[in-house]
């Protein structure tokens, strides 16, 4: 891939095309690319998944480790979501201290998971006030062709749903050699994922390619799951200087449950 930034030409072209409801790859504005999910990226992980959205690829691994509970919540385990934008995945990513995108990505995934209550952190206590499980969710883009946040959120829940609690040996240490079959305790019917709407001109699109994403002027990301069987928005974050209008929010909210249903169905079919 080239490192050339998006040109005025391309931005204008996309603005016009989106206004007519068209995209270069023939998709509708709200249509996702082909979604593929595989598991067992690493047999060393307690759970792992590889998500492909078109050419975008993210791998997610779950590790469990011993931790100490926070003083204000002695009866709760820990959840820690991190991301590393590997320079392998894009000519845009560089070594060095994380930029804003590398900080925002795991935070958005973290908030969507946390607020959905899919993990009851109280289930992760080994010894109250002293020893708990820390669930590490590590997100690694392998190829960035746009929409990393949504792809990472699909990967995170897919990997979590497959994750197991490690076995302990006779000294109480984690036994890495034997694979346990005890799943990490999760609420069965909840699967938080996120959807990012990108805005260019007056158009909203979902699942942008890198080029579409770079041409867009703003983004709004919603975390969504279910509560008592009904779709429930769990988190929201607007990115960029452009505004979102009342109408655009309404439009997004009418699309969100439909898209959630669609991706959820796909997730359930592979889990």
């Amino acid at each position: 891939m080239s490192s050339m930034e998006v040109t005025n030409l391309t931005r204008e072209k996309l603005r016009k095309m989106f206004a007519e409801g068209k995209r270069f790859d023939g998709r509708k504005l709200d249509e996702f690319r082909d979604l593929k999910i595989e598991f067992d990226v690493s047999n060393q992980a307690e759970g792992s998944a590889r998500v492909r959205l078109g050419k975008t690829e993210v791998v997610v691994g779950i590790k469990l480790g011993f931790g100490e509970p926070y003083p204000d919540s002695p009866d709760k385990g820990n959840l820690m979501v991190s991301a590393d934008l590997l320079p392998l995945a894009s000519p845009r990513f560089e070594h060095g201290p994380p930029g804003f995108n590398a900080i925002e990505l795991p935070r958005l995934v973290d908030r969507a998971i946390r607020a959905s209550d899919v993990i009851n952190l109280s289930d992760l206590v080994i010894e109250e006030g002293k020893k708990v499980w820390t669930v590490f969710v590590d997100l690694y883009p392998i190829n960035d062709d746009g929409n990393l946040i949504d792809a990472a959120s699909f990967g995170a829940i897919a990997a979590l749903k497959k994750a197991v609690l490690p076995l302990l040996d006779k000294d109480g240490k984690i036994d890495h050699k034997t694979k346990s079959t005890n799943p990490v305790p999760l609420a069965k019917d909840i699967a938080p994922i996120s959807f990012s709407f990108f805005k260019l001109g007056d158009s909203l699109i979902l699942d942008p390619t890198r080029e579409e994403q770079e041409a867009s002027e703003a983004r709004i990301t919603f975390g969504i799951s279910t509560f008592e069987g009904k779709p429930m928005v769990n988190s929201c974050q607007k990115y960029g200087e452009d505004l979102f209008s009342q109408e655009e929010i309404e439009k997004a909210m009418s699309l969100l449950p439909v898209k959630f249903e669609e991706i959820n169905k796909k997730l359930k079919s592979v889990l």
């Binding site: 690829e57 779950i62 590790k63 480790g65 590590d138 190829n143």
Partner: protein, 245 residues
């Protein structure tokens, strides 16, 4: 040769057998060249970007490109979670990989630029740097970088006094007798000289040349896999797949 033909290993391999090897090129569409290489449960991916601009400017070389390698483990590729980001081990291995690859790469065509080689381990079961070098060598070729040869890499070593090829994690942790020796070797495929030699353990002086000789033999197998994988990637069916991706 000091290989005991009848020596049986825990996973049933013969002493001079590498684990099953798989390889693929073009695994990272954004990259100028990319490849995956696996020895059994050890899986490495490599991406090459460049030649491209090198910052800061004072690092530029006006006579040739700079080859810059980066090797690291993904956090969940190992038993205890590895904290993301390179540690000293990763930095040392990155440099050793740079030295392993640079003898075959012709950097003179691209002064003042950098060729970045990014290697990450998805799943680690020993032999990660050797898998990484095999992947990186294919990725460099696929990126169209001028090269005099491909580089092949394998670990040879010992369990007690038995010379063995491509140690698994279990064999690396072997503790009886002389214990475990791990000797990572790389060489240009068509040369009889070595570009990577890193060893830990206990090995007698007369056994060292035996070990490198054994490594050379296994490198021939690796070379065949690299060649086939690269060439097959040009077949029309593979190309159309690539175009659709």
């Amino acid at each position: 040769m000091a290989v005991k033909k009848d020596f049986k290993r825990a996973d049933g391999r013969k002493a001079e057998d590498a684990r099953p090897m798989t390889a693929k090129v073009g695994v990272i569409p954004n990259a100028d060249g990319s490849a995956m290489f696996a020895f059994g449960d050890t899986v490495a991916i490599a991406a090459v970007y460049g030649p491209r601009k090198l910052h800061p400017q004072h690092m530029q070389n006006p006579t040739k490109a700079v080859l810059r390698c980066n090797y690291d483990l993904l956090s969940f590729s190992v038993g205890d979670r590895k904290r993301p980001g390179p540690n000293r081990r990763a930095q040392e291995i990155s440099k050793a990989i740079e030295w392993a690859l640079s003898p075959v790469v012709d950097l003179s065509l691209f002064p003042n630029t950098v060729i970045d080689v990014q290697i990450y381990i998805l799943q680690a079961d020993a032999g990660t740097r050797t898998a990484g070098i095999n992947a990186a060598s294919m990725a460099l070729a696929q990126a169209g970088i001028p090269m005099t040869d491909l580089v092949c890499s394998i670990a040879v070593g010992k369990n007690d006094t038995n010379l063995i090829v491509d140690l698994s994690k279990g064999e690396e942790d072997f503790e009886e007798g002389e214990g475990a020796t791990d000797f990572a070797v790389a060489k240009p495929a068509n040369s009889s000289s070595f570009s990577l030699m890193q060893m830990d353990g206990k090995i007698s002086p007369e056994l060292v040349p035996e070990a490198t000789k054994l490594a050379s033999k296994v490198c021939e197998e690796i070379y065949e896999i690299q060649k086939k994988t690269l060439k097959d990637s040009l077949l029309p069916s593979e190309q159309e797949k690539g175009a659709k991706k």
